[in-house]
Symmetry: none
């Protein structure tokens, strides 16, 4: 499980170290690649272990192409994804298109979400939810 938040520097070549805690999780599953994709709602990236991504992808591929919204969604979701391999120093190279999307310049914030994690530009990350009340209201429907 990916937990916690870690800030790491992005070097001149666009590389970032994966937090060692996250790396352990991946190694535990015998994986040394990540599927990296842009989030659709917020300016951040989402990182999946490969197997986890394939599940997700399968679900989405199955949706009907004839529905316009589905097509747009697929287009953005699938095309956002790029496989990144982890180098011997435990880093990934963030593909330029994704780097640009999430405005990752100097520092990346790794945000654990359990089965996946997000990568934010430290500058864009908000330490607290902007509207905690709204969250409460919605959560009441589910919990």
């Amino acid at each position: 499980m990916f937990r916690g938040r870690y800030a790491h520097a992005i070097d001149g070549k666009g590389r970032v170290s994966i937090p060692s805690k996250f790396r352990e999780v991946l190694n535990g599953r015998g994986q040394n690649t990540l599927m990296l994709t842009n989030d659709l709602w917020d300016p951040c990236l989402v990182a999946f272990p490969l197997d986890r991504w394939l599940e997700e992808e399968k679900k989405i591929q199955a949706l009907p192409d004839l529905v316009r919204e589905v097509r747009v969604y697929k287009r953005h979701f699938i095309s956002g994804a790029q496989e990144c391999s982890i180098d011997r120093q435990g880093r990934i190279l963030i593909p330029p298109s994704l780097r640009e999307f999430a405005q990752l310049n100097r520092e990346a914030l790794f945000v654990g979400l359990g089965d996946k994690f997000e990568i934010w530009s430290t500058d864009l990350w908000q330490p607290r939810p902007e509207d905690p009340e709204a969250i409460l209201r919605v959560l009441q429907q589910y919990l």
Copy 2:
């Protein structure tokens, strides 16, 4: 599987490099040609590996000619298709009619969609879906 987005320059002769990741996929299937056609709903091109195209074509051929919309669909879809071979540098020459259709001038954006991919003029591509709310509503019906 075609994934990711890659922007490549179009040179004076109308050639573009196919992203190496996409080329790998094609090589894996032992193919060095693409079937290129214009999309019907958006100003972009759609590229199929040959075998994938043949399936698609078969499906469409089977539709009933007696329905007006089907005829129009066939007319545009089938007649738009052109086979493009990949040269030794990993490029294709985009046929003028298609180039014009998708307004491909200076830069082409390759958009991976899994079993096929799209080619957009970078100028026309929208980094985010225009109506995320609508997409959410539709997705909720299916997921």
